[in-house]
Amino acid sequence: MTTLNSKIPEGPLAEKWNNYKAHQKLVNPSNKRKIDIIVVGTGLAGASAAASFGELGFQVKSFCYQDSPRRAHSIAAQGGINAAKNYPNDGDTIYRLFYDTIKGGDYKAREANVYRLATVSNDIIDQSVAQGIPFAREYGGLLANRSFGGAQVSRTFYARGQTGQQLLLGAYGALNRQIEAGTVKIYNRTEMMDLVIIDGKARGIVTRNLITGKIESHFGHAVVLATGGYGNLFFLSTNAMGSNGSAAWQAYKKGAFFANPCFVQIHPTCIPVHGDFQSKLTLMSESLRNDGRIWVPKNKEDAEAIRAGKLKPTEIPEENRDYYLERRYPAFGNLVPRDVASRAAKERCDAGYGVGTGKAVYLDFKSAIERLGEDKIRERYGNLFQMYEKIVDENPYKTPMMIYPAIHYTMGGIWVDYELMTTIPGLYAAGEANFSDHGANRLGASALMQGLADGYFVLPYTIQNYLADEIHTPRMNPAEVKEFKDAEEQVKNRIDKLMNIKGNRTVDSIHKELGHIMWEHVGMARTKEGLTEGIEKIRALRDVFWKEVKIPGTANGINLELEKANRLADFLELGELMARDALHREESCGGHFREEYQTEEGEALRNDKDFMYAAAWEYTGDHANPKLNKEILKYENIEVKVRNYK
């Protein structure tokens, strides 16, 4: 049995990372050339890691399922990236960023990791500017900042509403430079299908070429998974269509523990669902809450009239509007963290005050436009307003936006220690794929920070501590190694099995059904009964899938239905683990809200006595229950409190 050792370095919090770096093992330059590292994923975490490894002199193989590394889902991030630069001189410090992140995560993240994250946050901004990322600037030529939820300082750097795009293109540029230099080899349109373990260590992966259908093996002295989050389990989410949990799930089945799968972030400001054919939900960046005010009608009759199309929001006078976030949380107002804002929206809509289809609230820029002028608002959010108008066909400069919460981000993921190593030696997880820094709720603009911290500034160090002992391991030729051949065989068998079901249900129809089950039972408000029922339903649906799914064509070439089916098969298992995790956690914290555990005012009620731990689930077989391992969380530098944004 594996025991959890988080390998937190000795010393005071602020010194741990320096102590680690001072004492870790390194690989000398001539040996680096002899070492192969596999990096799956080319998002912020994967691209930055692969490029940095290449610069150091390692031989890197980099994989993504899209046609180019630049299209990884990170490209879609809008609002910004945090750093403790304190350029606005408004009182920010590394400690404050650390503190806000731990508190925002409802005290479910590891202190040492989060402190390191806050420390390197500043290096990321320096690096990005050196790469030519055109962050927003003031007239004096220095960098501009904006505010995000859960913070009382302005520490978010941004490039219009396309911060993720710009940061990713920076990392992609660095990756391209290494591809040109020959240290990185890129495999586009290639999906990881399995992880290969030899003598207890991660040694490579098996992939499927999405164009030819060919199953292939790749050797690495170490493997990094930077494959993003699993929010698409819910079918409708803000994630890209191809985002998936499969690589993480394969790792789990090979022995990597999966931590806190039930911690899912529901983002408060997304464009509401419009109909059954809908394929995805569009996020309206949290940065909009800097200037937008959220409200619903104060009177139910007004809400009903709006829903019936008899009244317009602009016709409702100020005194009849309920700015419920400002009312409930005067200290943070519209900038409360996401979990709090999402629940408050749901509460108002469930109580009958929703607008639109009844599942929507207003995000209104009227006062900001009056205060700053339309031009200023256009400069800040122009592309978001345009996006909204294209989708909804309404002009948000003239009438308030309608928004509703949607699945957005997964805090849960593969368990990693301080070095970002999983419970499998030589296997690392970075970015959204790991569970590390955001606890039960991620603050806005912190995912980009974490992905780049992991890839640029953490892994390039920590991976050497492992690889220093691997310099005598010769490169392997997978064609000659039994473990690789066996893994390939298994992948082929699974594909054959899927192709031969030849049922009459399409992949999407089953995926939509899974989404409904998840939203209903494992969504924003969870109960013991609901979760128990949800688990039964997921299992039943899994049987339906394996009996009735229909995949046309063959596996020897492009087969988009096969790709989707393969990912859905894993979601159908991961969904159950999520529900189990939610069922076992008898408390409410961050994105995990159990109706049984709330205060009289409807706020989340934690149970620190029994649940102050990260739940790391261990696979024990397809038909056996997973085993729960606990990483007890110790707070030595922060006083654990009830989260209060009032």
Partner: protein
């Protein structure tokens, strides 16, 4: 609404393709163009036929993956958007909509509406970056950059690498795409240092990969979903001329 879609079907890179027409009923005007394509694919699956292969991922106009020529225009009839942002309300009941892949020697068709745009990656590999390693860089505020320069660099940097400019250009020139990157980096002090070398390397790679020359027709600018302006091509030419003079 009821529509007919005439779609290019091509089994693989080596096969000859042809148009197939499909009728679709009860499409809601609020659905996106790709959601309409999803409905078409569900219908084809129900009929036991192979669904239409097309590229897409983010479905919010930023990843640059979607790429369709719709009624003779890259990304369809609306302006400054990608195919995934196009909505069915832009069409009328009873319309026949023609959907083709990008057509350019630089982007070979792989299947149906999917094309191979890896040439774009190769152009950027030639020099579409600032040559700095991770770490050891100056403080982000060490060099002030005027807001104007920074904003203009950002305008160029919004290119999503979709390929509409190439697909629209009668010469299959990748000039707008190349210019966007060269211009972004040349506008910033950090990128200025190797601007000339960069322009030269990227243009050489573009030529090698078989893209055509730019004859300033300006068609690319009109179809670019991100409104990248051809003034960036002028800046590229300046950098390139510098390179030629220095030789």
């Amino acid at each position: 609404m009821n529509i007919t879609v005439k779609v290019w079907r091509q089994k693989d890179a080596n096969s000859k393709g042809n148009f197939e027409s499909y009728k679709l009923n009860d499409i809601t005007p609020d659905s996106s163009f790709l959601e309409m394509m999803d409905v078409l694919n569900e219908q084809l699956l129900a009929e036991g036929k192979e669904p239409v292969a097309y590229d897409h991922d983010c479905r919010e106009g930023i990843c640059g993956m979607c790429s369709m020529f719709i009624n003779g225009r890259a990304h369809g009839p609306d302006t400054e958007i990608t195919t995934c942002q196009l909505h069915m309300r832009k069409f009328k009941d009873g319309d026949t909509i023609t959907v083709e892949p990008w057509r350019s020697g630089g982007f070979p068709i792989i299947k149906d509406l999917m094309v191979d745009r890896s040439a774009y990656d190769k152009i950027l590999q030639a020099g579409g970056y600032i040559s700095v390693n991770t770490g050891g860089v100056p403080d982000a505020n060490a060099i002030p950059i005027s807001k104007e320069a920074s904003d203009e660099a950002m305008d160029a940097a919004t290119c999503i690498g979709c390929g509409a400019c190439v697909a629209t250009c009668k010469n299959s020139s990748a000039m707008l795409f190349v210019a966007a990157k060269v211009s972004q980096l040349a506008l910033l002090p950090q990128g200025k240092v190797e601007a000339t070398r960069r322009a030269k390397a990227m243009i050489a790679r573009m030529d090698e990969l078989g893209f055509g020359n730019c004859t300033n027709t300006g068609a690319c600018e009109v179809e670019c979903p991100k409104g990248i302006s051809i003034t960036h091509i002028a800046r590229l030419n300046r950098e390139f001329l510098c390179a030629a003079v220095k030789e």
